[in-house]
């Protein structure tokens, strides 16, 4: 390695160059080279980043042509999502993010795009009637996210199952409100009971 770049070695003749004196040409060539190396150091990560992006794009294209698409379980409750499937597939995260900020910062809790509502409708139950985590393998969120290779960062904090009392007609009204159609079901149910 040391012998790989003989030009960079400083010969005895240069050692006599005073610090403030003019510099022998070899030194400035050497410095040019080191500048080039610096530039290389800066450029390498950029190149790597570019390559990774290109690879990502290629993979995405290949993925869309693949046959084995994810099997996404149907929602267990309700018959209509808060928005069209097309919109939800594409924009669910921006809808969630937008409402998340409104709810956390401003305290608005009436909008329909809450993660709790997603879980309430889309979480499945197992054969014994127990709720399954929505991010468990093959479940609503996970099936698509593992297909798209996008990490979900919601359920390390957020509940991945509906609240225990989440049974239509039995729950507290405030729990139903963040989801229009469960609210409607609740009202219809209440009406029927009365």
């Amino acid at each position: 390695m040391a012998c790989g770049r003989p030009k960079l070695r400083v010969g005895p003749s240069q050692r006599e160059g005073g610090f403030t004196d003019s510099v022998p040409a070899t030194v400035s060539r050497m410095e040019n080279q080191s500048m080039r190396i610096t530039a290389l150091i800066v450029c390498l990560p950029l190149c790597a980043f570019g390559a990774a992006t290109a690879q990502g794009l290629l993979l995405q294209r290949a993925g869309s042509q693949a046959e084995n698409r994810p099997v996404i379980p149907k929602a267990s409750k309700g018959d209509q999502c808060v928005a069209d499937t097309e919109i939800m597939r594409k924009d669910h995260m921006s809808l969630l993010n937008h409402q998340r900020d409104e709810t956390v910062i401003e305290g608005i809790r009436s909008e329909p795009y809450s993660l709790v509502s997603c879980v309430n409708c889309h979480a499945q139950t197992d054969t014994s009637g127990q709720a399954i985590r929505i991010d468990a393998e093959g479940q609503f969120c996970e099936s698509c996210h593992s297909y798209a290779a996008v990490k979900i960062d919601c359920f390390t904090c957020h509940a991945a199952k509906p609240a225990a009392m989440e049974v239509i007609g039995n729950a507290e009204p405030h729990l139903m409100r963040d989801n229009p159609h469960t609210l409607v079901s609740y009202l219809l149910n209440k009406e029927a009971n009365e």
């Binding site: 390695m1 040391a2 050692r15 160059g17 005073g18 610090f19 410095e31 080191s34 500048m35 190396i37």
Partner: protein, 404 residues
């Protein structure tokens, strides 16, 4: 002005165990990375930190590295701004070391976060009332200024900008260290920290830590180059160290004496002398004082310090100032926050009475040491690719020094 004859080289991997050193540092960095990952994955409960002692050893390491980064610029500042010819050959090394130390310090700080994966948020969302936010700008700006500074030092065609960029770097490092001190200086809830004198104290700490680290690095590089550090350089560095130590001791004494005087803080201040932090507190101060006395006696009597003594004094100064930083950061958290003056807490589920205790875990040590090793690894790399290590030919300088 003495004209020192020097040129700059890249280090060669064959001499002075360069490769062994680099491999050892790389190993430590890997261990540090593993420790950070484990602490992240398991959660901070495996560390010695808890909800009372929220900042621990990683913060001591990170702050030390950041302070040392600012202090490492001493030689560059003295050469570019104050035109001290002795320091001229060391300016490049000084700037490169500052960059390496700061990057490592920041990395340790980031890797100790609860959510380091959210670094992007930290870099894009700012609360400008927070001194922490300002520090993010100060740190990244410091690196930028140093990179430009280095370019002006390296490239002949940019040499004419050295003085102005050097002055900017000086200004920047003062603001940066003030900012770092102010992270702790405005914490009204903690009696040991609630004082503006922490800012100058941290500047003094940075001078000592930076000078010490820089001296050790100069010795290391001279080993790699196979040329001894000139006696005059050692003498100058020791003199600089003495002044820095005196400044540090001065601010530390003022800090603690004023705290002792203010009755609101005096009982907490007394616990600093006798409480759980007494050992690092006294160890730090006594070591620094000892180094001071020793340096003074050396300067006065024979003006000759050999390389071993010099390096030992630097290690001692580094140790002493690290102890002071440790007792300031950790000690302030061990003291219970007094919510109810005039009342005694007879029971609490969350330690409102009595000292907290803190024992750093192996993970924190690993992360901290990994950070130090990273700075050395980066330094070794830059020394290999950039002509920054000075080769000083002394005799001429020595003679002219004595003449003037």
């Amino acid at each position: 002005m003495a004209s020192i004859i020097a040129d700059h080289q890249i280090v060669k991997p064959i001499r002075g165990n360069y490769l062994v050193w680099m491999l050892a540092m790389a190993l430590l960095v890997v261990i540090g990375g593993y420790c950070a990952y484990t602490m992240e994955h398991e959660g901070h409960h495996i560390s010695g930190m808890n909800n009372r002692v929220v900042w621990g050893l990683p913060h001591v390491f990170a702050i030390s590295l950041i302070l040392a980064a600012s202090g490492a610029l001493n030689s560059a500042t003295l050469s570019s701004v104050f035109n001290q010819s002795m320091h001229k050959p060391w300016a490049r090394l000084s700037v490169v070391l500052a960059i390496c130390l700061l990057i490592s310090g920041l990395l340790v700080l980031v890797l100790d976060l609860g959510r380091p994966d959210r670094l992007f948020i930290a870099m894009t969302t700012y609360n400008f009332r927070s001194i922490f936010s300002w520090n993010i700008f100060l740190y990244t700006g410091f690196i930028a200024v140093c990179v430009v500074y280095l370019a002006t030092l390296l490239d002949r065609s940019l040499n004419r900008y050295i003085a102005s960029i050097g002055a900017l770097a000086l200004l920047w490092r003062i603001v940066l260290t003030t900012g770092t001190g102010s992270i702790f200086g405005f914490l009204v809830g903690r009696s040991a920290l609630d004082t503006a004198i922490l800012a100058p104290l941290f500047i003094a700490l940075s001078l000592v830590m930076g000078s010490a680290v820089f001296a050790l690095v100069v010795a290391l590089v001279s080993r790699w180059q196979g040329t001894p550090v000139p006696a005059n350089t050692i003498r100058q560095f020791s003199k600089l160290m003495l002044w820095c130590l005196l400044a540090l001791l001065y601010f530390s004494v003022v800090h603690h004496l004023t705290n002792l005087y203010v009755s609101e803080h005096s009982s907490d201040e007394r616990t600093m002398f006798t409480g759980p932090m007494a050992l690092p507190f006294w160890l730090g101060h006594i070591t620094l004082f000892g180094v001071c006395v020793w340096l003074v006696s050396r300067q006065r009597i024979i003006e000759a310090i050999n390389q071993k003594q010099w390096l030992l004094s630097c290690v001692a100064a580094l140790f002493g100032s690290a102890m002071i930083l440790y007792s300031t950061i950790i000690g302030s958290q061990l003291i219970p926050q007094n919510l109810f003056p005039g009342k005694e807490v007879t029971s609490s589920t969350f330690g409102d009475a009595g000292f907290a205790s803190y024992f750093p875990s192996v993970w924190e040590w690993g992360l901290g040491m990994g950070g130090v090793a990273l700075s050395m690894l980066l330094l070794g790399f830059f020394l290999r690719v950039l002509p920054v290590s000075a080769h000083v030919i002394e005799p001429v300088a020595d003679i002219s020094d004595q003449v003037t």
